[in-house]
Subunit: 432 residues, 3 copies
Amino acid sequence: MDVVVNASTLDALTVGLDTVWVLLSAFLVFFMNLGFAMVESGLCRSKNTVNILAKNFIVFALASISFWVIGWGLMFGNGNPFVGLTNLLFANGGVDEGFDAISWTRVPFWAKFIFQLVFAGTAATIVSGAVAERIKFLSFIVFALVLVGLMYPVTGHWIWGGGWLQSLGFWDFAGSTVVHSVGGWAALAGIILLGPRLGKYRADGSVNPIMGHNMSMVTLGGLVLWFGWFGFNPGSTMGVGDGSAIAHIAVTTNTAAATAIVAATVTAWLTVGKPDLSMIINGALAGLVAITAGCAFVDVAGAAIIGLVAGVLVVLAVPTFDKFKLDDPVGALSVHLVNGVWGTLAVGLFAIDGITGSATGNGLFAGGGLTLLGAQALGVAAVGGFTFAVALAVWGILKAVLGVRVTREEELGGLDRGEHGAEAYAGFQIID
Amino acid sequence: MDVVVNASTLDALTVGLDTVWVLLSAFLVFFMNLGFAMVESGLCRSKNTVNILAKNFIVFALASISFWVIGWGLMFGNGNPFVGLTNLLFANGGVDEGFDAISWTRVPFWAKFIFQLVFAGTAATIVSGAVAERIKFLSFIVFALVLVGLMYPVTGHWIWGGGWLQSLGFWDFAGSTVVHSVGGWAALAGIILLGPRLGKYRADGSVNPIMGHNMSMVTLGGLVLWFGWFGFNPGSTMGVGDGSAIAHIAVTTNTAAATAIVAATVTAWLTVGKPDLSMIINGALAGLVAITAGCAFVDVAGAAIIGLVAGVLVVLAVPTFDKFKLDDPVGALSVHLVNGVWGTLAVGLFAIDGITGSATGNGLFAGGGLTLLGAQALGVAAVGGFTFAVALAVWGILKAVLGVRVTREEELGGLDRGEHGAEAYAGFQIID
Amino acid sequence: MDVVVNASTLDALTVGLDTVWVLLSAFLVFFMNLGFAMVESGLCRSKNTVNILAKNFIVFALASISFWVIGWGLMFGNGNPFVGLTNLLFANGGVDEGFDAISWTRVPFWAKFIFQLVFAGTAATIVSGAVAERIKFLSFIVFALVLVGLMYPVTGHWIWGGGWLQSLGFWDFAGSTVVHSVGGWAALAGIILLGPRLGKYRADGSVNPIMGHNMSMVTLGGLVLWFGWFGFNPGSTMGVGDGSAIAHIAVTTNTAAATAIVAATVTAWLTVGKPDLSMIINGALAGLVAITAGCAFVDVAGAAIIGLVAGVLVVLAVPTFDKFKLDDPVGALSVHLVNGVWGTLAVGLFAIDGITGSATGNGLFAGGGLTLLGAQALGVAAVGGFTFAVALAVWGILKAVLGVRVTREEELGGLDRGEHGAEAYAGFQIID
């Protein structure tokens, strides 16, 4: 039986497919919460495990609430080039209108919402690792609320919400800047205000390495994050089309991770003398962060080079931050900040105009001159300056009002007992 | 080239999309087996880890077989209001006819089957945690077979298989009652028959808290369960349509989890004095259980309230069960029974008629009066009464025939050595 | 509004759906890397954990690069019956032409590529477990590169790339032979060249069981693998159609795992006297490996029988390999080699012509005589002979050039310190 199709039937089918894709991608990105929780707790000491896990668990709950109450409206609401202003509260009750900047995807409102929500949650989680083993639980919670509810949406509005950077031709496909470097800048401010963990830097200036307590969990976390990134990057199409863009992005993403691992392994082998597992894993994450901005704008060879550079950068960044006594227990700055910046700039180098349909213009190495690279650099600086300054202020206020650092006794005895009255591995004999 | 479409082409495409959605959702629900295994083993002592893991692994295998052999037919076969009677065995070899109650979804037979199978498996897994650290391996296996093959399908028939509760206007979208409270009632009967673990309640009536041995695994399990719930609830549409229902359900589900976490954290902080990690995680699960019945029937604000209440309930329920010396090592009753009941009743309070297309009528707070609430209460009572009574009988028979409890020596020495001749963490120094 | 549909609109929608399915399946198969990492490290001793995890992490990176550079072209390029020859390098830059053998699926090139890539990675990972606790890191890396870049693609070309076995009527739907037995044969060659771990076999010929250090991780890994297999098998349709084939395959896959678990548990209970957890888990994997070849060619009852046999085989195979002093720390030979062979032959026994659309002809038990069984046996022998011989040569060259085995001191002290200067569980008291 042949039929003439009702247009709305075909429309519903198309939008239905797009929705399945966006939702499943959102679920994968949600699952990255597990990856972060395991990487961060595993790289720290067992006496702080419960604290880190509790932070990571609750931070996504708070992100879910604050992004619903206010964050979505600030980020995607119609407004001015700097912030969304319309239908601010409670994601407008699920009604689509007033959010023109994201009307390009035809999926239902709540599909857009949950996809953007899981991204917002990621930014806060990045901070969690960097301030681990010394932060007060309540202060972190308040900071996470401010970050997801207010700070992240503002810079997000600039880039994805129809704001001034978007107008200037700044491109960040899945959030090397919007998510990762924002998390990194906020973390940097926290690390500066908090100071290093007791015993990390010796009186003579040398570094006392503090070993993670569970490399099985770190590896698990790294692989879960890689898995989740297949939602993060390909899912950012927020639609399927004929499938060629999402397939392209899946391969650029995977390739950058692979070359970054190899580069990080070799670099670590050459500089430290051993193929260090935490460097291998952070290498993978570095490659994934770096390809996030450009995954839809570069070809597979470009992705391979972006990953190679990321793998080298992350291994060199760790001792560099230590030189400045910036104590980052999990390498969050080296992964998310350094490579968020690198990945964003790399769009200006490797972009190939229209490779998956976006009119980015060509990057420098594709013969496009410096225009795109300039816009990317401007965006990096603007978002970095804003986020770092505001984060420093928020952390400063928290320090004055609630205090941000646990007591010396609590830090030495472990935050698990001090903040939670619990231990992670009851019965196991542990010497910290 | 324009074409006139053959109706079957478009049909195949629609059914194909629905099948992809249902299968991927089923896979996510299957993955919840990992979540349960890790939450349950992590909250118990290391000396019983192998036993709990083995139980959780094998119980899904048994569920897969018994639901195929007999369970599916009892649940979805045409029959009378109380039980399915036609094509009982081996899921009718995969032939669709004779299962009218589930013909509303057009996905192929085996897609319906595997989706329903993973739900059935969940019910048995819930029991596993509640009876942990003292149950005989073989007795649990037999109970699980009876539960999945015979008990679960009967009450399932009442609600989803065209039975009497469905006719009366009882609504349970994804199984707060069908799955979670059924598991909870069966667990309660087991706990009563088994008695508490040695040393849990002191002679003076006070409670001796028994700490879990691996909070990293508990956290991992909690996040895996949350991830899997995105298959459990949105997947229960068993179709995609234009995507708006599944997106709605994803957000109500996530929001209830988030508010429940916050409520449980605050409640625990107020009652115990610390933000207890196991309460945070059980809070998330409580919110997820509670929103399962109503995820498609309430709006996001309603979901937020349902979750808030769930988070308070779970924290208050734990000491209440302890007061009655009902020893539930993992909090399964507080999560699945209490909040399965709460979530089912909440449909009667917060339902908004037709919000995603189901003709539930309005709940009390949406101006619908007490009709819906009454039906929900009747369903809770009927399913609870039936399941608890039959479970008590089955556990009683097992106690008489096989014995249900391991010896005192075995319990003290750990079930891993006693039942499996193994230990979970060879080489680690552990004091139990 | 009724419309006449443009053919390309409907085409794009169909291909879009297929792409979503293939990509999500690929992501699930990618996730199996986590499963292998946890099963393998958990079944070994804690002193070798970092080494095993590092191997598993980096091997997928290397697979990603070598399959892109050369493997894809050798496997799927047009050429002769033995190897692909056209557009060999860099997957032809993503251009589809020259790969006729895989043009039956209409998904975009990069979707085909990433799906095949994650399969290639699996073969190398299988080897990793078998040679654990004594292999030199660098030698394993080189072997993995050769396996994924050169060996796997050649036999893969014979079966899936339009080669001579495919022409002869050999059927392997998702890779019991292409992936699992290839990994198994390569592992067997490595085990022979390496020799057993120190202390595994006593002077009197008896076996000294070496316990795994973390059964929680092994269980986690087993469930992750089962989860990932829902991408491995149903995804191998590389398209959705009307959904009936993928639903069928999901159920045959799950059923074989379930019956294999029961069979392995009972067999272990009868032979060892206890329901051994590692046997339960390896039972599941054995069933999954065995059903991989025939999941689309047999009915659910056939799958149940294939799984039952697999569960018995895996339990009997472990002591058999030990009798020949073939020391396989994780049971990789028993799972992947024995059951890869069994599953491939089982197609010749249980296949039902056209059950999901493939013209396999009937197997012996479906009245088809010995034709299919003969082709299957020939394929098993040819692939096994080739892979074992080449692997033995490659391992032999590595032994001569780099050495394959760590020193006695390093093996006793653990590869984590020797090769990586690290330990997996800092702070924990461990006696190896």
